[in-house]
C-alpha cells in the first residue's frame, strides 16, 4: 500500500466519526479509563465496579483515613489527589518506572498499578510516613541519602527510598550487586544509579548499627 492509499484509508476510518469510537466501544466510564490507562494492566479491571461501596477506610502511615474512592481508582491517585500525599510520584502510570512505589504491609508495590480497593484492611506506607511522627527524625534510609547526597532531580527518590526501606528489612547485609538487583524495579532517568547504590549500602549499614 503506498502512502496515497493509506491516506485514503485514514480518510474512511476517521471521517465523520468520533476518532476513537471504533477502538473503545463501551460506555463513558470504560472509555475514559481507556484514555487514562491506555494499554494499562488496569484496563478492564472492572471487577470492583459493582460490588464495592465508595466510602472506605484506609490505613496510611499508621493513620485511619476515610476516603471516597471510585471503583477503579488507583492507589497512587487516591494518595495524591484525595489524601494530599503528593510525595508518591507518577512517572508512567503503568508499572514501568517505580516512581509511585509504596509499601503495602511492608512489601513494595507500584501505587499506580493497584486499585485503592485492593488495600483495604492493609497498611500503606508512603514517603511522608518515614520520619518519626513525634520527633521528625529521619528514617535510616533518609539519613543515608542525606549523608551521601543521593539523587539529582529526585523525582524518582520517593519510590527508590521506599524500595530501599523494604530492602534493608529483607536483606540487611547486601552486597552492591544484591542491592542493585533489589532496586532494579525502579528507574532513574537522571541515571544517578551509582549514588543511589551508595545510599542503599549506607542505609543498610546504618540499619545494622541501630
Amino acid at each position: 500500500m503506498d502512502q496515497a492509499e493509506s491516506v485514503s484509508v485514514l480518510e474512511k476510518k476517521y471521517s465523520r466519526r468520533t476518532f476513537i469510537k471504533g477502538v473503545i466501544a463501551t460506555g463513558a466510564t470504560a472509555s475514559s479509563a481507556g484514555y487514562l490507562f491506555r494499554g494499562s494492566p488496569l484496563l478492564g479491571a472492572a471487577t470492583y465496579q459493582t460490588a464495592t461501596e465508595r466510602l472506605i477506610t484506609l490505613n496510611v502511615n499508621g493513620q485511619e483515613r476515610r476516603v471516597d474512592v471510585l471503583p477503579h481508582e488507583t492507589l497512587a491517585m487516591t494518595l495524591r489527589y484525595k489524601l494530599g500525599l503528593t510525595g508518591t510520584k507518577l512517572g508512567c502510570d503503568r508499572a514501568e518506572c517505580g516512581a509511585c512505589t509504596v509499601l503495602i504491609d511492608g512489601v513494595s508495590q507500584y501505587g499506580c498499578s493497584m486499585l485503592t480497593h485492593q488495600v483495604r484492611g492493609r497498611s500503606v506506607a508512603t514517603i511522608e510516613g518515614l520520619e518519626d511522627a513525634d520527633t521528625g527524625e529521619l528514617s535510616v534510609v533518609q539519613k543515608a541519602v542525606m549523608e551521601e547526597g543521593g539523587f539529582q532531580c529526585a523525582f524518582c527518590a520517593p519510590g527508590f527510598i521506599m524500595a530501599m526501606t523494604e530492602m534493608i528489612e529483607v536483606n540487611p547485609n547486601p552486597t552492591r550487586e544484591e542491592a542493585r538487583l533489589a532496586l532494579s524495579g525502579n528507574l532513574c532517568r537522571c541515571a544517578d544509579y551509582d549514588k543511589i547504590l551508595t545510599c542503599a549500602m549506607r542505609a543498610a549499614e546504618l540499619a545494622r548499627s541501630v
Binding site: 471510585l70 532531580c153 527518590a157 525502579n186 544517578d192
Partner: protein, 795 residues
C-alpha cells in the same frame, strides 16, 4: 576561618524536602476549585480538523468547558501553538476539555465528535528530499522568514548515487568548507567512507510536563515544570503576550528536562489560557503516554561521512553530509555536529553540508549534547577503525587527533578558552588501565567476546554577561537570589559557593532563594547547554565582589580607617577600627541607603534585573552586578569515556562490564555532584546508543514505542555496580572561578565509548547506526543486516 566551599561535597539545601515528600513539583500543587484539563491528541501524523462537535461532551455532568485552537496564540510558518487544528504529528494536541475531575475530562474527550482530513506526511526526511516526494507541510518543506515556504529537493542524479550506496554530491542549504579537502584526501594514506544513521529518541524526563495555573485579577500564577526559572517567566509572558511582571511563576522543582523543558514547555500555556477562560484553577496532568508525543525528542541524522588519515593516524580531511530529521518545528543539531567533528578531529581540511528537513514526527528539541552526542557516538568507532587499519594504537589515534590549546574550528575558526582533552584521555587511560584492557580485547568466553573502546566528547560549557544579585540581611545571613532552575544539577546551590567563599561565609549562613518569581531574580541564563555553572559562578562572583566592596565601605564609615583594610570572615568584618557582624553592617547599609541597600543600581545590569532588585531594595546590603569579566573564545568541556563490554554472539546482548569517565571542566566545585553528572550523562548516552528505540510505522506515520518499556532508558541492571570518574581539575584561565559546565559532554562520551567497544567486540566492524539493540547486532553478526544503510525509524 570560614570553611572551604569550593571543592567540598555539600548536599544541596533542598535535599531534605526531596526525600521526605515535601518537595513540590508542578503536579503537586493544588488550588481551591481546581479543575482538570485533558487533551485530545491527533490520531494521525498530518491532518486538518474539518469539524468538531463537542455538544455531547459539554452536556456531560461535571464538564466545564472546551478550549479550541482559535483561542490560543499562533504564528504562521513552522511554529508550534499549544493547540492546533492542523496537527503535524500523531499526538499533537488539538483541543482541551476541563472537568471537575480528570476522569470526567477524559470521558468528555472521548465523547467529542471530530472529523479530520488526512494529509500526506513524511517520516523519513530522505523521502521528502526525493524529487516528487511528500512534504511535511502542505506548502513545502523549507521555510524562511523572508521568502516563506519553498519546495527543496535533491536531484535524480543525487538519488542515483544514494540508491547505489555512494556518497551523493547534493546542494544543501548549509554548507561550509575550510582548507582544501579535495587535495587533502589525495594525500591521505587511508580514506574511510561510511553511511550513518543516528536515531531520533524522546527525552523522557522522569517528571512529565504537567502544570497548573490560575489567575488572581491580572496576575497569573503558573506552576510549571521547567529547567529554567527567571527566563521561563519571560518565555511564558511572550507566548501569552502579557506583561512578565504580571506572572508569578512557581518552579521550585523540576523532575528532569535534558533539554526538553528549557524555558518551560509549550503545554504550559494551556492551563494559563484555560483558567483565564473559565476563571478556575486548571491542572493539566501529562501522562507518560502523552509525554511521548508532546515531550520533545533528539533529532535523527542520516549521514555520509568521508574521513581521510595520514599514515601516522592523523585525520587530515573530513567531508560530512547530514540530513536531519527535524520534526514539524525544526532543530539545530546538525550545525553543531559539523562544528564538533572539526573540533574533535582537527582535520584542517573539512567540508560540511547539512539540511534540516521537516517531518511529521513529534517535535524535536535540544537533548543533552545536541548534535555533538550524535556525531561523536558515530565517528569515534570510525576513528578507531582507522587506527586498526593503519596499525596505530587506538588510544594514540584519539590522543593525536584531539585538539590542543591553539585549536581553531568551524567555518569561522572559533577558538577555546582552554582545552585539556589530552589530559582527560591520559588520566582515563591510567584509571581504566587501557593497556591491560587492550590485551583482553577480543578474548572469548563461550559465545561472549570482550571489546574495549574510547569516546572523547566535547560540548559548549558556558556563557558570559549575566547578572548576579544577593543580599545580606540584618539576620547576618547571605541570601543568594538564583534565577536559574532546579532540575537536579544542584547548580542553584553550587553556583553560589564561590561567591559565599569570597564573602567568608560558612554554608549554614547562606540561604539560596529560588523557585518562585515573587522572590525576585536577576537576569539569568536559560538552564541549558551546560551554561549555568560558568555563567552563574561568574555572575554571583561579580555580585559578591560588589557586596564585599560595600561591606568594607560601610565598616570603614562606621569604625574608621580605610575600606581596603577591612576583611570578612565567618559573618564578621574586621579591620583597624574594630569588628562588626555582617548583620549590623546590613542594618547600617539600610540606613545609608543608595547603592548600599540597592536603592541605586549599577547602570549596566539588565532591564529584567531592575524590577527584581527593586523588590529587595532597602532590606539589607545588596551585592548586585553584571558579569563583566569578559573572555576570548568559546567555553568547552570534555569527557573521555572508556568502556569494556561483553558481546554475546548468540543473543546479540551487550553487557557493560566497566566504565571510566574523566572530565576536563575546569575548577571542581562539587565533586560528588560532578561525578553524578559524568555518570548520569554517560549512561543516558548509552541508552541512546543501545537500549532506547523509537520505532515508527512507515505506513501510517505513527510511533509504536510510546512508553518506557518500549523506548527503555537504562535501568539499574544495564550498568555495572562500580563505575569510576575523574576530573583533570585545571581551572579555566579566563574565568574568575575557573569552572566550566558538565551537563552535555558525557552523553557523547558514554555513547561513543560503548559504540567503539561494541565495534571492537565485533572485530572492528562499525555498524554505524543507533540504537545497537540485540536484534540489530545479531542480524549484523549473522551477516543479514536488519536495515538498509540509510533506513530510519522503521519497525
Amino acid at each position: 576561618m570560614a570553611e572551604r566551599l569550593v571543592g567540598a561535597d555539600i548536599a544541596p539545601p533542598d535535599l531534605h524536602a526531596k526525600i521526605t515528600g515535601r518537595a513540590r513539583y508542578a503536579e503537586d500543587f493544588r488550588a481551591p476549585g481546581m479543575v482538570f484539563a485533558k487533551l485530545l491528541l491527533s490520531p494521525m501524523p498530518h491532518a486538518r480538523v474539518r469539524r468538531v462537535d463537542a455538544s455531547r461532551a459539554l452536556a456531560m455532568e461535571g464538564v466545564i468547558d472546551i478550549l479550541r485552537a482559535d483561542e490560543v496564540p499562533s504564528r504562521d510558518g513552522p511554529r508550534e501553538a499549544c493547540l492546533t487544528d492542523t496537527p503535524r504529528y500523531e499526538g499533537e494536541p488539538i483541543l482541551a476539555v476541563a472537568a471537575v475531575d480528570e476522569e470526567t475530562a477524559a470521558a468528555a474527550i472521548e465523547a467529542i465528535e471530530i472529523d479530520f482530513e488526512p494529509l500526506p506526511f513524511v517520516i523519513d526526511p530522505l523521502e521528502s528530499l526525493r524529487p516528487g516526494g511528500p512534504n511535511a507541510y502542505v506548502d513545502g518543506n523549507q521555510f524562511s522568514g523572508q521568502d516563506g515556504w519553498s519546495d527543496f529537493k535533491w536531484t535524480n542524479t543525487d538519488f542515483a548515487k544514494v540508491d547505489a550506496g555512494e556518497m551523493p554530491d547534493p546542494s544543501c542549504p548549509v554548507e561550509w568548507t575550510k582548507g582544501d579537502p579535495e587535495s587533502a584526501f589525495a594525500e591521505s594514506a587511508l580514506v574511510l567512507e561510511e553511511t550513518i544513521v543516528h536515531q531520533s529518541l524522546t527525552h523522557h524526563p522522569m517528571e512529565p510536563r504537567s502544570n497548573m495555573a490560575y489567575w488572581e485579577g491580572e496576575t497569573l500564577h503558573a506552576f510549571v515544570s521547567t529547567q529554567s526559572s527567571q527566563q521561563t517567566k519571560f518565555a511564558l509572558a511572550g507566548a501569552l503576550q502579557i506583561d512578565p511582571e504580571n506572572i508569578n511563576l512557581v518552579s521550585e522543582y523540576c523532575g528532569g528536562g535534558f533539554g526538553s523543558k528549557i524555558a518551560g514547555t509549550t503545554v504550559m500555556q494551556i492551563p494559563a489560557l484555560f483558567s483565564r477562560k473559565i476563571n478556575r484553577p486548571v491542572m493539566l496532568r501529562i501522562t507518560r503516554y502523552e509525554e511521548n508525543y508532546v515531550g520533545r525528542a533528539r533529532p535523527g541524522f542520516q549521514t555520509w561521512l568521508k574521513m581521510g588519515f595520514l599514515q601516522d593516524g592523523k585525520c587530515n580531511a573530513i567531508d560530512l553530509i547530514i540530513v536531519q530529521e527535524s520534526g514539524p518545528y525544526g532543530a539545530g543539531d546538525f550545525n553543531t555536529a559539523g562544528m564538533i567533528a572539526d573540533l574533535t578531529y582537527t582535520p584542517q581540511n573539512m567540508r560540511f553540508r547539512g539540511v534540516s528537513m521537516y517531518t511529521n514526527t513529534p517535535p524535536k528539541a535540544a537533548q543533552r549534547g545536541p548534535g555533538g552526542a550524535q556525531i561523536i557516538s558515530m565517528m569515534e568507532p570510525i576513528l578507531e577503525k582507522a587506527g586498526r587499519e593503519l596499525g596505530v594504537d587506538r588510544f594514540e589515534i584519539h590522543r593525536m587527533n584531539a585538539p590542543r590549546g591553539d585549536v581553531q574550528f568551524g567555518p569561522r575558526n572559533a577558538t577555546l578558552t582552554s582545552v585539556h582533552a589530552v589530559e582527560a584521555l591520559d588520566q582515563g587511560r591510567e584509571m581504566f588501565d587501557w593497556d591491560a584492557k587492550l590485551a583482553i580485547s577480543g578474548k572469548r568466553n563461550g559465545s561472549k567476546v570482550t571489546g574495549v573502546g574510547i569516546g572523547l566528547s566535547p560540548y559548549t560549557a558556558g556563557s558570559r554577561g549575566r547578572d548576579g544579585m544577593m543580599i545580606i540581611r540584618p539576620d547576618g545571613k547571605l541570601y543568594v537570589h538564583q534565577g536559574i532552575g532546579n532540575l537536579g544539577t544542584h547548580s542553584i546551590a553550587d553556583t553560589a559557593r564561590p561567591a559565599a567563599e569570597l564573602l567568608g561565609y560558612n554554608w549554614k549562613d547562606v540561604e539560596i532563594v529560588w523557585g518562585n518569581s515573587a522572590r525576585a531574580y536577576p537576569r539569568s541564563t536559560v538552564q541549558a547547554g551546560s551554561q549555568t555553572t560558568t555563567a552563574h559562578t561568574r555572575a554571583n562572583h561579580a555580585a559578591a565582589t560588589d557586596a564585599l566592596r560595600k561591606i568594607r565601605e560601610v565598616a570603614a564609615a562606621a569604625l574608621g580607617g580605610s575600606a581596603s583594610s577591612y576583611s570578612v570572615d565567618s559573618g564578621r568584618v574586621s579591620g583597624p577600627g574594630g569588628t562588626m557582624t555582617l548583620g549590623r553592617i546590613a542594618e547600617r547599609a539600610i540606613a545609608m541607603g543608595g547603592e548600599y541597600s540597592g536603592e541605586v543600581l549599577p547602570d549596566d545590569v539588565h532591564a529584567q534585573t531592575v524590577p527584581a532588585a527593586q523588590i529587595l531594595a532597602g532590606e539589607g546590603l545588596m551585592g548586585i552586578a553584571r558579569d563583566n569579566y569578559g573572555g576570548e573564545g568559546n567555553i568547552y568541556s570534555w569527557v573521555a569515556g572508556f568502556a569494556m563490554v561483553e558481546l554475546d554472539e548468540e543473543t546479540g546482548m551487550v553487557e557493560l562490564k566497566e566504565y571510566v569517565g574523566v572530565t576536563d571542566c575546569g575548577t571542581v566545585i562539587h565533586p560528588r555532584s560532578l561525578g553524578a553528572q559524568v555518570f548520569g550523562g554517560s549512561i543516558q548516552g548509552m541508552g541512546m546508543a543501545m537500549t532506547q528505540r523509537w520505532v515508527f510505522d512507515p505506513q501510517w506515520g505513527v510511533p509504536f514505542a510510546n512508553r518506557f518499556y518500549t523506548a527503555r532508558p537504562p535501568g539499574f541492571l544495564d550498568i555495572p555496580a562500580d563505575l569510576k570518574w575523574g576530573a583533570v581539575g585545571i581551572p579555566d584561565p579566563q574565568d574568575p572561578v575557573g569552572a566550566k559546565g558538565i551537563g552535555e559532554p558525557p552523553v557523547g562520551a558514554g555513547a561513543a565509548a560503548l559504540t567503539s567497544a561494541i565495534a571492537d567486540a565485533m572485530g572492528g566492524r562499525c555498524v554505524c547506526r543507533t540504537p545497537l539493540t540485540p536484534d540489530v547486532l545479531l542480524a549484523e553478526i549473522e551477516g543479514r543486516p536488519m536495515y538498509g544503510r540509510l533506513e530510519q525509524h522503521v519497525g
